[in-house]
Symmetry: C2
Subunit: 233 residues, 2 copies
Amino acid sequence: MTERSSSKAQAITSEVRRRIADREWRQGDRIPDEAELAVEFGVARATVNKALQLLAEEGLLDRKRRAGTHVTLNPAHKATLTIPIVREQIEQAGMEYSHRVIAQKLSPLPADASTRMALPEAALLIHLRTVHYGDGKPFQVEDRWINPQAAPGAEAIDFQRINANEWLVRNFPWLRADMAFSAENANARDARLLETRQGTALLILQRTTFNDLGAITSARLAFHPGYQMFATS
Amino acid sequence: MTERSSSKAQAITSEVRRRIADREWRQGDRIPDEAELAVEFGVARATVNKALQLLAEEGLLDRKRRAGTHVTLNPAHKATLTIPIVREQIEQAGMEYSHRVIAQKLSPLPADASTRMALPEAALLIHLRTVHYGDGKPFQVEDRWINPQAAPGAEAIDFQRINANEWLVRNFPWLRADMAFSAENANARDARLLETRQGTALLILQRTTFNDLGAITSARLAFHPGYQMFATS
């Protein structure tokens, strides 16, 4: 697509959004077909197609080859979540970043991490525990397993020099990430490292990334009490 | 785009992903330009453009008009999160859905909800408290404010008959949703309604949706202990 057809497509998406918001086109309604819209907007059919496809990907329209395009009955249920790099996140909040590696050693993979990473239980992986600080205050406690098969060279890295999150992101692009959000009462270790009381509710993010060699890393991130993670759609 | 050029674009995205995963193209590398790739893959330039655009949206490529297309230094930091309709979520888990409205009345909007909804404090909105059950067990406690200005007719609805989540989604498509995840220790009311102990860590989702008339609704959703929300990228 050229720049020009792309901005035309944008004008069409805006107008379609407006018609849906203004309920000129109501949920479940079949909208005019591509050819009609191309005439109405004075653009190529491919441009209309591009605009409608974008709205379909957002979940606002429902496109079926034979049945035509309808305004979705259950609109957009998808949201985009930015996966932060912890150093950037802390610096963007105007704080100075630092981190401390509590432990870094080869250890046998426990059952739960083995399931998440699709690797054999008791396989020897790098086990890393790190605390990330903003202005010296604990921000996040990270418990991470790294698979040297998918991240060759990891055995030789001193993660006190460069934090594992950044080293991995810089060197091993991932193709897929699985994430799960949950809440846990701080256990004794969480409480000590986050300088809070045992039992305090913590937001937990389990994140496992994969490349074509398998699981790269799986981390349990426990955020400081009161932390909020934002998403928009 | 036709069906055929779309599947060609898909073949190109797969090949580009493979080259990045195999480190034939490394992070920061400039990749061949559209015209060269069009020749290599034997497709139209627009098809290459479409494929690269998709990978750029995913964050794997970084496209700049003059500098060309590079493999992103910090790859994909975005994940897609499906926003579940609570009834569907419970039914998809194989449980029978039911809900109970604890309170439904016009009340003055408190300060925190006023900020989230960008509405004046003390404006009269519909305040609703609901518990959603799966097989009779508490699944989610919902504390919701509904703005009748953006959702006309809401005043007349009995939300015990149809739950507010579904009624709103069916009747008022939203254009934007703001979400925040956090963890809270169950307060006395959460604990009673979720049939758990006070202090138990709960995953909290604050969600506010907007249409062109303003904020439609803002809800605090407290999930049962142990609940996990999944996202993939």
